[in-house]
């Protein structure tokens, strides 16, 4: 059994390309011959990401056309340039997007959600309602799923959680009638401006149920019809999307369950085959986990290049800018304490589960796999570390050197850990704060390298000791002042030496 088959393979697409195209180095141009392996690697990556065969084939043909004869830029490695072309073409294909739901001003807007069973329609109804609520609209949900037992109940619970009215009838009612009555009820209510219809999941080959949803479309003419599609869907995604689009003329697609490790090639296939744009993506079970779709990020995801932009956005949303600036200053002055450390960890945790965040980083997917296979949960460690820090007195947090054996035992008792855990934390913290001070004086690239060293040295492996980064011998200690002094002294010595030589 080969562990992590799928993720590993995708994670490796850029690597695979690197290998396939490495011989391009030094060659001036991309030619049909020297691109073959690269194109094959791209096609395989797309297929492994569930992109439909024909779409993948057409796509690689277009890439070949574009890349053919392109000069290999000196500043880039050929595979980088090639991946760049692929990435851009993916973006072009999936974009541009329009996130608007065409809400009508002063009039009731009707949105309808449809899709296969289990794609996440009911949950997505709730998420859309929340999104609308936040933008100032007053949504109402209509429970038109008469098929699945307790679907109505599920929508009612969601409505309650959001404080959104839900219109429903007995489970044996007619779905078309329920939708009509629901919209009438919304009009009568007066305090509702958007109605969201939750229809039953149906197979696109189920003639009766497809007729039913066409009837709803005909009788209510919703302003927006959105297809809810599971991101884990394979080659069949195109068939169902096509059938729904033929029957209803879709306005957009919501891709759900993207919080897992699915590559979501369906996004590309559906857009390519039906032309219907992806509008939103679902990234979690909670009702606030609906995000606008960004083709550039999805392109990165399909290629397994990580989703850096989302991470940056998340970080920007969660980190308090002032707090950051304050901590940075402390860092520069070398006054970074255990308390600051804890605050920072809290901020990171607010962004979501650590493993999820790490997955978004290029190349980190493998680390996450490694952790989970070794049954290491970084989350658990964070909880433990927080517990230890919480059990210290303010003075100890400011100055960990104070902590002697008896204090250590007290802290361990207070946090339900072992004295050795306390010791390890203090040791690691002092190594880390040392490194952080170093980093404060570095430029971005040096910082990146340092972070990588920290990761390699076991930042995510609590069993390992973090290594102190090897200092550059050319630069000497990173204290600028000391360096300047040293240089001054060197120059002075050199002058003296020259004088001596002259004599």
């Amino acid at each position: 059994m080969s562990r992590g088959h799928s993720t590993f393979m995708f994670e490796g697409i850029t690597k695979g390309l690197e290998g396939a195209l490495s011989f391009l180095r030094g060659q001036g141009k991309l030619t049909e011959q020297n691109m073959q392996d690269g194109l094959r690697a791209v096609q395989q990556a797309l297929l492994e990401a569930d992109v439909q065969y024909d779409v993948a084939r057409d796509f690689t043909a277009r890439i070949a056309e574009q890349a053919l004869g392109a000069e290999v830029l000196k500043s880039l490695k050929p595979y980088e340039q090639f991946v760049g072309i692929v990435h851009q073409e993916l973006i072009n294909l999936m974009g541009p997007v329009d996130h608007s739901l065409n809400l009508r001003r002063g009039e009731l807007t009707v949105l309808m959600l449809c899709g296969l069973q289990g794609s996440g329609k009911t949950t997505t109804c709730g998420k859309l309602a929340k999104l609308l609520q936040e933008s100032g609209a007053k949504p109402m949900l209509v429970a038109a799923d008469m098929q699945r037992p307790a679907a109505i109940e599920q929508l009612r619970v969601i409505g309650q959680q959001l404080g959104v009215p839900v219109y429903s009838e007995a489970p044996d009612s007619n779905a078309v009638r329920v939708c009509q009555n629901g919209v009438a009820a919304a009009r009568k209510n007066g305090d509702v401006d958007v109605v969201i219809l939750d229809t039953a999941g149906r197979l696109h080959v189920d003639a009766d149920l497809m007729r039913e949803i066409e009837q709803i479309d005909l009788k209510l003419s919703p302003q927006q019809i959105l297809l809810v599609c599971d991101a884990m869907t394979g080659q069949d995604a195109v068939n169902s999307a096509k059938a729904f689009n033929d029957a209803l003329e879709l306005d957009g697609v919501i891709l759900t369950k993207l919080d897992g490790d699915a590559r979501g090639g369906a996004a590309l296939s559906i857009k390519a085959v039906t032309g219907v744009p992806i509008k939103f993506i679902g990234v979690g079970e909670q009702l606030d986990k609906l995000e606008p779709f960004h083709p550039d990020r999805m392109a990165g995801r399909i290629l397994g290049m990580g989703d850096v932009l989302t991470l940056v956005e998340k970080a920007q949303r969660e980190f308090d800018a002032d707090q950051m600036a304050e901590q940075q200053e402390k860092l520069l002055k070398g006054k970074f304490t255990l308390m600051d450390f804890k605050d920072q960890m809290g901020a990171v945790r607010k962004m979501g589960p650590l493993t999820q965040i790490m997955k978004l980083l290029p190349g980190m997917g493998k680390v996450v796999d490694m952790l989970s296979s070794a049954d290491i949960d970084p989350e658990e460690d964070l909880v433990q570390i927080e517990g230890i820090i919480d059990s210290m007195t303010p003075r100890e947090r400011d100055n960990p050197d104070l902590i002697d054996m008896s204090r250590r035992r007290r802290i361990a008792d207070g946090s339900g850990t072992n004295p050795s855990d306390v010791n390890k934390l203090i040791k690691e913290f002092s190594t880390m704060s040392g490194m952080m001070q170093q980093m404060a004086g570095m430029n971005k690239w040096q910082q990146m390298r340092q972070i990588k060293q920290m990761a390699d040295g076991g930042l995510f492996d609590p069993g390992a000791q973090i290594q102190i980064a090897k200092k550059s011998t050319a630069l000497g200690p990173l204290d600028k002042r000391a360096q300047q002094d040293k240089k001054k002294k060197q120059r002075k010595d050199a002058r003296k030496q020259r004088k001596k030589n002259r004599r």
């Binding site: 059994m1 080969s2 562990r3 088959h5 799928s6 993720t7 395989q44 297929l47 492994e48 990401a49 569930d50 439909q52 065969y53 024909d54 084939r57 296969l116 069973q117 289990g118 794609s119 996440g120 098929q147 699945r148 037992p149 307790a150 679907a151 109940e153 599920q154 929508l155 009612r156 619970v157 969601i158 959680q161 197979l203 696109h204 080959v205 599971d230 884990m232 869907t233 394979g234 080659q235 069949d236 995604a237 068939n239 169902s240 369950k257 919080d259 897992g260 490790d261 699915a262 590559r263 079970e285 589960p353 493993t355 999820q356 997955k359 996450v368 989970s372 296979s373 949960d377 989350e379």
Partner: protein, 313 residues
Amino acid sequence: MGLFDKLKRGLQKTKDLLQTDLRDLLKSGEILTEPKLEQFYSRLIATDMGVASAKAIIEELREKHVGRTVVFEEVWDTVRAKLKALLKGDSGTLWDASQPLSPLRFAPEGVTVILVAGVNGVGKTTSIAKLANLLKKNGKKVVLAAGDTFRAAAVEQLTLWSQRLGVEIVTKPSGSDPASVAYAGCARALETNADVVIVDTAGRIQTQQNLMKQLSKIQRVIADKVPGAPHEVLLVLDATTGQNGISQAQHFSQTVSCTGLVLAKLDGTAKGGIVLAIRKEMNLPVKYVGVGEQIDDLELFDPDEFVNALFDQ
């Protein structure tokens, strides 16, 4: 009506199509060329079996038949043999077609516990209802444990099924610890001398570590109450699932050591070819397939029918 009749009726069309459709591609008397192999490759990919499995089959065809005159039956035999080899894996698990319960491992004595897991929306609850129905029809006394305490109204959904089927169900309020529901279900089954208890669990994306830990806790609690349990850990897989199915099978197996798959929603146009890749990677067999929305629409997995249906268009 025999258990197989329904599936066979549905698949009759398949067989006819198979004969004409593949025959068109692999015409007898013509030379098998690379472009034709490429076309066949695209057909294999369309089943979701994945690049590795598709390549393995193409490789076999290339070795045995390329450059030669096609005899359709021979080429088809090669394909079918390879597919079946992939499906049967190392263990060669086969069950008795006349015994609908033969894929299940029952406790030598006392209560048998079946744990059912899977990602969100694959059809766990419906599959459980179908399985309970099958067990009951075959003379087993069944208790359901409504362990999906997370999704709104999931408990109600299973309760409705239990009423329709006339089997006992153990529930706790929404938000309760699912492990405690599993425990109570096992306890109830022991109390009432039931034969089988089926434990439902909330859908979870396989990369959510906390939820996966919760699942292994459920398993531990079951083992505490009934030694040797759970006897079956079934992973429900949506037939429309693509390559992510491998990741699902891997993560769930790592957590709760799955014993088999239930391939749900096979009544659409999706082929469920991902089970080939899963068998190849993990040696995890398919035990049942869900072929419709009715309560009786759960069938024993039959590799022959499955292989034929793969090329239905």
